[in-house]
């Protein structure tokens, strides 16, 4: 059972930019996944301008999820959010993701280090669902 509760994470190894908007992060799993284990990416956000959202996509452009803070007072940091990473986004224990700050009518751009403070991979436990 203890194995089920084990959680491992890896910080982004490399930060780079490319022509597409957003920040690309390359993350490495610390070990092979066991059967039925999953992977999630955990993002800790800082202060976001009202109405801004954070999109997480694969490098090929598949949307994995969107963080849209709710109930956060102006000026407060937005907290930490978890988005599942599908198995097809993992290759050789590596995951490359594009993190985008969506400002809607004002366009998209890479978030600053203050807006997205950390990005981690976590291995999630096996479960019956």
């Amino acid at each position: 059972m203890q194995m089920l509760f084990s959680t491992l994470f890896a910080f982004a190894l490399l930060v780079q930019t490319s022509s597409a908007p957003g920040r690309v992060v390359n993350l490495v799993l610390p070990r092979n996944l066991n059967a039925d284990e999953g992977v999630a990416v955990e993002l800790k956000l800082g202060v976001l301008e009202r109405g801004n959202e954070v999109r997480v996509e694969t490098i090929s452009g598949k949307l994995l999820g969107v963080i849209s803070p709710y109930g956060i007072r102006s000026g407060n940091q937005a907290g930490t959010y978890t988005i599942p990473v599908p198995a097809e986004a993992i290759s050789n224990n590596c995951v490359s993701l594009r993190i985008i700050l969506d400002r809607h009518s004002r366009g998209k751009r890479a978030p600053t280090a203050q807006e997205v403070r950390s990005v981690k991979l976590r291995i999630t436990s096996a479960s019956s669902v």
């Binding site: 089920l4 849209s68 937005a78 988005i83 809607h104």
Partner: protein, 537 residues
């Protein structure tokens, strides 16, 4: 009550309560008793079903009645929304439980004001239907309806209408309520009202004018692709996956952060669970117009006067339904549905002070523990997304395997299907767990820790944790000098080693598993193993 098995859906709540009253609380784990489903008094239907459509007729009637009530009445439509603005928890582990109470009392209100005593709030299953049901644009089911104009035409009109009665209410609040509001950041009435007006920040304005009260429209009812993604099966499935009600590691937690109070505002240390952080938040914001409406102001759903929009209750009914799905998943798999002590008590004793019941009376101080079960309001859900996952999981789950051993001395022998052992050894999702029952040490006994050995060679009396035969150590905590009479037995769940040496006869249909208990650290050992059972989980 222990944290391992306490089914809290209404189907089995009563029986579990009786077990707790009978003293099961002293056991590290309880039995895995099956409780047959009972019939709920109310059914929360999918809004698209016939039952859901019928419920909306009563809902419409009651909203009209609530709009017509004077602002001094706690059931006035807007006064009801202010309960949410003043008290709702977000980003913490009371999110689900508080909203269950809020919706439950609201449902009673609708029942009374519509005259439909069968009413239960329908749910909107946005995973299956990622657009606002067309019927929710009819009449007062949208806050853009002309019936709202006398109150929400503009902020001045709204202020004149609601503020005097709210101030009177504010001045009547007791010390405990004021204390909670202080934590929320509402030290004065003006602090609270600033969240209504936005206090210069249009994005923080909870009030919305009638025509802008809901961004999505009859012509544009679809959730945008990003919101639909956050409501998609893969996200919901991930949100249902955690096996703990709360874990400090949010990836493993069904609920959001553990905070000192349900009033603690979300901030830098807040960790949002997947279901609250993604579909819950995004649906609120999408309906309110985050994105297309720039920095705001937004429709009602984006801020804490979101219950002004009748879709709020269908949205939260679905969130509550997913909690129920998760609960049943946990029960089916044999996982806990609440945190262990002392967290369970901390969670349960939190006071909710602002609810209004179906008779229009202030509930007063009620505790979170009262709302952990759907039994509190006597409802069940018509199946929706997630229920199918449970069926599949149940069919595939080998976890029903259970073998009881023969005990002689401190040794239990069990015959277990080799296939189950091999699955266990293969590091798959299935784990074999031994439940060993030993008597609680009596007063004066120095032997309080025992190693559990599996398949260990004859004569072995000690085992290193690195040994392939070592399953774990069970220990009793604290002395028993305060206890009177026989302290009873205790059952511990210990995962079996993942080493093939610990099992004999794997080539046959059934393998032999031998479990022994030895006193740890050279303590004297009485004969103590009372029973042993192996289960696949």
């Amino acid at each position: 009550m222990d944290n391992q098995k306490s089914p809290f859906t209404r189907r089995s709540f009563l029986k579990t309560s009786l077990a707790a009253a009978a003293g099961a609380a002293s056991l590290p784990i309880t039995t895995y008793a099956f409780t047959p489903p009972q019939t709920a008094k109310y059914i929360r239907y999918n809004v698209m079903s016939e039952g859901g459509k019928k419920a909306l007729q009563s809902y419409t009637k009651a909203i009209q009645a609530m709009l017509a009530l004077k602002p001094e009445h706690p059931h006035n439509w807007f006064r009801n929304a202010f309960v949410h603005l003043m008290d709702c928890p977000h980003g913490n582990w009371w999110f689900y439980v508080w909203h269950r109470g809020y919706i439950g009392y609201f449902e009673e209100t609708i029942r009374n004001l519509s005259g439909d005593q069968t009413f239960a709030i329908p749910y909107w299953d946005w995973t299956v239907q990622p657009e606002i049901p067309q019927v929710m644009f009819d009449n007062v089911l949208t806050p853009t309806d002309k019936a709202f104009e006398p109150y929400t035409r503009n902020l001045d009109v709204f202020t004149s209408f609601i503020q005097p009665s709210l101030k009177t209410y504010w001045n009547s609040l007791n010390t405990a309520q004021r204390g909670q509001l202080n934590i929320r950041g509402y030290k004065t009435f003006e602090d609270m009202w600033n969240d209504v007006t936005g206090n210069g920040d249009p994005g923080n304005m909870a009030f919305a004018t009638t025509p802008t009260a809901r961004y999505l429209s009859r012509q544009n009812p679809k959730l945008d692709p990003a919101t639909a993604k956050d409501c998609s099966p893969e996200i919901i499935k991930a949100g249902l996956k955690p096996i703990e009600y709360y874990n400090a590691n949010v990836s493993l937690s069904f609920t959001s952060s553990k905070t000192p109070s349900h009033m603690t505002p979300p901030g830098s240390n807040t960790k949002f669970s997947t279901i609250e952080g993604l579909p819950h938040n995004k649906v609120h914001n999408c309906i309110g117009g985050v994105g297309p409406l720039g920095p705001g102001p937004y429709g009602n759903m984006t801020n804490f006067l979101s219950p002004v929009d009748p879709i709020f209750y269908l949205h939260h009914s679905n969130i509550d339904r997913l909690w129920d799905v998760w609960t049943r998943k946990q029960q089916q798999a044999g996982y806990p549905i609440l945190p262990p002590e002392p967290d369970r008590t901390t969670l349960s004793i939190e006071e909710f002070l602002f609810y209004v019941n179906g008779n229009g009376q202030f509930v007063g101080a009620s505790k979170a523990g009262e709302y952990l079960s759907t039994a509190r309001f006597g409802y069940e859900y018509e199946p929706g997304f997630g229920d199918k996952l449970l069926e599949i999981s149940k069919a595939q789950k080998p976890g029903k395997m259970q073998v009881k051993g023969t005990v002689k001395g401190n040794r239990a022998t069990l015959s277990v299907p080799s296939a189950a052992v091999k699955e266990h050894l293969a590091a798959s999702a299935t784990t074999l767990v031994a439940e060993v029952t030993v008597p609680h040490p009596t007063t004066g006994s120095q032997t309080r820790e025992f190693h559990v050995l599996v398949g260990a060679p004859e004569g072995v009396t000690e085992a290193d944790p690195k040994s392939p035969y070592f399953a774990g150590t069970v220990a009793f905590f604290g002395n028993m000098s305060h206890a009177h009479g026989t302290p009873g037995d205790a059952t511990f769940a210990v995962p079996l080693p993942k080493a093939p040496q610990a099992f004999k006869g794997l080539e046959a249909t059934n393998a032999t598993v031998e479990i022994r208990i030895v006193a740890a650290g050279g303590q004297t050992q009485p004969s103590l193993l009372k029973s042993a059972t192996i289960r696949a989980i």
